[in-house]
Structures are given as structure tokens and as C-alpha cells.
Point group: C2
Chain length 216, copies 2
């Protein structure tokens, strides 16, 4: 992982204090992304953060607690990004375009975190998992609401709103799997392309390129 | 994992002989999917297959060799499915719809294998990885060719063929992440929905629902 990438991934943890707790979360994200949750020990995480295992236990009782915090913060952030876009001004198409663009931009820029958050869900214990699943339902709900708004307004033509909502979110989330920091496109360029593709998926009756390319 | 699911995942390994080598591959897929590649030992795999570690070494020298075989077979199968659909008869839209429907159906039905194949790529050694990356380029190439065919024939309206190709494949592949055997849709139902959504993404000028819903 490059320094730039680490720096980017470190940003979303600004709300975690004190500094030692934040460094441990960043170290855990990197370790889980590289070797998987099950192959990572709390000792690995402490050592990446330049701390002793005893120092780790002051902040997190178990490895699962670290994964839970990461997953919770990641899902909160994703929901917040969608919610902000959905609650903005504009037509349903404009709001859906902004939502997709921001959501995709986040999954591209924070792809290491997003991968851990998406792929290690099964490792969470029952109650943590239930909490995250509830957050995902709310995320689905925001996109579904935008789709329904557009249909009601006569802007979209959607035969299967539930299935289309799943597909739209899936398309956006999978950016975290394939996005490459050294690739040809910036996170925002991928976001703008995806906003256009999503407007096509919902059968937007206007010009998808024009709405998707508008400045945020 | 249910017996039914295991049975489904066991099918694609029909070409692996002898029976012991096949049982070990199936066990490895299950173990990697559950705990991740790095947290799985060859002992775990042998024991799942009801064999001794020594018996495993007769067939596979290393854990990486198992992952490489799984990844190779999975990618070959995915490419073969796309190639068969793309080389079939019909208009570009019809061929793209069949390709997406079969590819998605496979990723849904074989989701455990597909997840391992997609998420454990980084664990492969350099030469194995290069081989798989080359197979992926050919997979991308098949979709790209169908997109270009449709544009040339005046059936599709695509502003960014490279980006749209990446998005189409990504949408299909991510089915392996979210598909749930106990969910409301069968693999083929998801495939039919996705064929329609992909025809919308490429700006198909005909009726996407009609072409996507046609019997294969």
C-alpha cells in the first residue's frame, strides 16, 4: 500500500479518539485487507500500529470489536453520503445522480476500508451482524426511495424497483473490489460514469449524460 | 452451507480427476470461503475432505497450488460461458442478453466458488496471478466485442465503451457477493433482470425487457 493510499484510508477515522485507538483501527483495516480477518491476530494489529498487545487491549477487548467498529463506521459513512445526496435539492434524477457519484467516489477512494466492510461481514458475531444488516437495509431504503420518487414523478421507467435497487447498490459497491489507485480513472470520474449508467438503468427519460455530468 | 449448495458447488469440478483430487478442491473452496485463504491450512482442507495431510500432498504440493487450480477452473468456466453466448446466433443485443444471463446465472449458482476466485486473487504468486489476469482480459474482451458490435450495428448508444464494459462485468460478478440461496430470486431470474439492466446500460434502442426475457 502506498503512503498516499494509507493517508486516504486514514482520513475517515477522524471521529475515532484518542489517537492510539485511531491508529489501531487503521492498522486493523490494513491487516484485514491484506490477510483476511481470520488470519490476522491482535498481535499483528498492535505491531503494525507500533504498539504492544497490552496497549491494544486498553482500547479494544477483542479482534471482533475492532472489526465491528470498522464496519459500523464504514456503513454509517456510506449511509450518511447517500442520505445527504438524497435529501438535497433537485429532481429525483439529479438527486440519484449525486447520490451515486458520491457513493461510488467514496468506495473508490476508500476501497481498502470498503472491501473489509463488505467482505468480512460473516466474521461478525450475531448482534453486531444484526446491527450492520439493519444499516444496510436503511442504505437500500435510500436508493429505493429515490427510484420510487422518480417513477412517481414520471422521470423513470422501472419494471422491478426492488431488483433494480439491489443492482444499483451492487454496481456501486463492487467499485471497491476493482478500483485501482494507479488506474486511468479518478474516483470522481468513475462516479460520473456510474451516475450516467444508473440513470440509464432506471430508464431516465431525459439526457443521462447531462444530468450525471453536472457539477456537484 | 446446505447440502444442496455443496452439491451445486461440486458440479463444476467434474473435470478434476481422480475423485480424491476433486474432493480436495471442493473442500478447499469451502474452507477458503469460510475463513479466507490465509487462515486455512492444508491440514484443514485434508480433514474436510476426510483425508490425511499426506494424501493431500500426493495431489497438490502447496496450498497455493489448490487456489491456483480453483481460480484457473473458475475463470476458464466464466470465459467459456461468455464465449459460447457471444459466438451464438442473433443480433448483438440478443447475444449480449444471453451472455449476461448465463454469466450471472453461473455467479449466482456457484457463488461460493466465484467469491473465492474473485477475492483471493492477491494471494496467488506472480506467475499464477499473471495467468489469471490474462484470462480476465479475455473475459473483458468478449463483453467489449459485444458492446462494439452493437454500436457498429446501430443498436447501442455507448459514450464510453471501456468504462461501460468494466461496469457491466462488475455488476455481474458482484452477484456472487450478495446472492442468497434462500432469497426470493432464482439464479436465472437474477440473470434475466440483469440482462435487461445491461441492455439499458448500453443504450439499446429496442425493447430491453423483450430481448432479455426471451428463452435462451
Amino acid at each position: 500500500m502506498t503512503a498516499e493510499e494509507t493517508g486516504r484510508d486514514a482520513q475517515p477515522w477522524g471521529e475515532v479518539t484518542p489517537d492510539a485507538a485511531r491508529r489501531l483501527l487503521v492498522a486493523a483495516v490494513e491487516a484485514f485487507a491484506e490477510r483476511g480477518y481470520h488470519a490476522t491476530t491482535t498481535r499483528d494489529i498492535a505491531s503494525r500500529a507500533g504498539m504492544s498487545p497490552a496497549a491494544l487491549y486498553i482500547h479494544y477487548k477483542t479482534k471482533e470489536e475492532l472489526l465491528h467498529r470498522i464496519s459500523r463506521i464504514g456503513h454509517d459513512k456510506a449511509l450518511d453520503i447517500l442520505r445527504t445526496a438524497a435529501d438535497g435539492t433537485g429532481t429525483p434524477a439529479e438527486r440519484l445522480a449525486v447520490a451515486v457519484r458520491s457513493f461510488v467516489g467514496w468506495h473508490a477512494a476508500q476501497h481498502t476500508t470498503a472491501r473489509v466492510v463488505q467482505y468480512e461481514l460473516d466474521a461478525l458475531g450475531e448482534s453486531a451482524r444484526a446491527e450492520i444488516v439493519a444499516l444496510r437495509r436503511r442504505t437500500d431504503g435510500v436508493i429505493r426511495e429515490l427510484v420510487d420518487d422518480g417513477v412517481r414523478a414520471g422521470e423513470f421507467d422501472v419494471a422491478d424497483p426492488a431488483g433494480t435497487t439491489v443492482a444499483v447498490l451492487s454496481l456501486c459497491i463492487d467499485v471497491a473490489r476493482w478500483f485501482n489507485v494507479g488506474g486511468r480513472r479518478t474516483p470522481d470520474e468513475v462516479g460520473a460514469l456510474y451516475a450516467e449508467l444508473v440513470l440509464r438503468m432506471v430508464g431516465f427519460r431525459g439526457d443521462p449524460a447531462e444530468v450525471a455530468g453536472a457539477q456537484k
